[in-house]
Amino acid sequence: MLAMNYRGPQRVRVSHKPMPEIKHPEDAIVRVTRSCICGSDLHLYNGNVPDTRVGMTFGHEFIGIVEEVGSDVHNVKVGDHVLVPFNIACGKCHFCRQGLYGNCHESNTQATAVGGIFGYSHTAGGYDGGQAEYVRVPYANVGPTVIPPGMDPDDAVMLTDVVPTGYQAAEMGGIQPGDTVVVFGAGPVGIMAARCSWLFGAGRVIVLDQYEYRLEFVKNYANCEVYNFKEMDDPVVFIKRITDWMGADVVIDAVGAEAAGSALQTITGRKTLLQAGSATALHWAINSVKKGGIVSIVGVYGPTDNLVPIGNVVNKGLTLRANQASVKRLLPRLIEHVQNGVLNPKALITHRVPLEEAADAYRMFSSKLDNCIKPVLIPPSARF
């Protein structure tokens, strides 16, 4: 089968790999029909996540058709069109039973700090991902969800990660009616976080980014205020100034390790890997939220350390809330929102690219070429 094949930092190709096999009674094999490239895939692509091995296939946002099931699979059957949450979750462990499907304890041998994630290095379990024609899906009774009849596949694939992550970012913000919410980052997750903040009753939503085309998009998509931090001396002072010098009630970090805006953070976090990615957005978030406010973190960082003003977290009495999205927990509500037209996630997809051109799609997304917001890879069998 054809599959994306990582060869080293900023080098990927599509090549033939062996077909995945059932390895466990609760496995399924899914024929992929759509697979997105996620902003967090860029951390792998740039070589920033430890234990990203040459030959691995990335891709944790995908949908497809069930081709084969293991002997203990009863919730999906061959022929079902399913969307597959990016988390690999057993549904039985202590954490899954708390609704923390992003923190499963039975899906990752290599690290305890994160549950299994499709195609996200061996630090997240060593599973090949969905940027391929076929993929092995463990715990098929738990994660894969049958796509409701009539749902656009482009909406469905966005429900595997982008929509739940953006929604949970807003949810973790504990937004109260009338709150001012600041979102750092106008990538797909930041755009969705801004949109979802309104669902929780935000009174004002403000988004900061450095790319004008993304700010223009989110302004229209999410009815929010937008500002380009490149035009500011100091984004923290700017946010204080536009919030009566108090700071925002809630600040969402939807950027993570690839953040721009600080030479020190860029050199130590992205160029030399002395810290686990550039923590510029988180630094700004902590400093621009009001005292007693909440910082919600969905931007992805590496497993080591980051330079953030933790003293200010103490002195300001902040609450930090963070997690990988618990996709399964959120799916019923989010499917409802998509079906009712409250959320329109497919509007974020700007590029539909043949799987065979994955290297170009990664470059386009990574370098923000051609006003790229969200690229989707489509395998040959799904193109008609």
Partner: protein, 172 residues
């Protein structure tokens, strides 16, 4: 979730132009979630017992799986992509002697990744495949959408390479 739309109108602003405004507002959503949301049967001392759930069937361990020393067993399922091999594999095995809390774990893993990249190129040549670095780096897309940027990148790369070459020649 509790529908609090009526309460929300009390803040005195009109959000009718925003579809779905306030439909998921939940005044009970406080920062103690999900710690507060303990599953049935996990109260008091049971909380501390560790493996108190019925574990899923164990996937047969038929490839080498490196295990974090912060857990006692292999997880019930695991990925089988690209098992450790070669020099990079040896470095990874060394890294897994240290916990996730140690630089001794993560820095060797980053080193192993870079070694693995070179191994990948050697492996390509062994199989008679010459990697097309330009295609793998997606330069076709860059040339199409940002020819100036790519040209600049190539010129800088060529200048740096030439400078290094000249410096090395001088030393000789």
């Amino acid at each position: 979730m509790e529908n609090t739309t009526n309460d929300l109108t009390a803040i005195g602003r009109d959000y009718s132009h925003i579809k779905g405004w306030g439909i998921d507002a939940d005044p009970k959503n406080d920062p103690t979630y999900p710690i507060r949301n303990r599953p049935d049967g996990f109260v008091g001392q049971d909380e501390q017992r560790g493996y108190t759930w019925e574990r899923p069937t164990q996937q047969p361990v038929d490839v080498e799986v490196l295990r974090s020393i912060e857990r006692p067993t292999v997880s019930a399922v695991f990925g089988t992509s690209t098992p450790p091999s070669g020099l990079s594999g040896a470095i990874r095995r060394y890294a897994f002697k240290y916990s996730e809390s140690e630089y001794g774990h993560w820095l060797p893993l980053l080193l192993a990744d870079r070694v693995n990249m070179v191994e990948g190129i050697i492996d390509d040549f062994k199989r008679g495949h010459v990697p097309n670095i330009f295609a793998e780096r997606g330069w076709k897309a860059e040339w199409k959408h940002d020819p100036q940027g790519l040209t600049k990148k190539v010129l800088i790369g060529a200048a740096v390479t030439a400078a290094v070459f000249v410096l090395l020649r001088r030393k000789k």
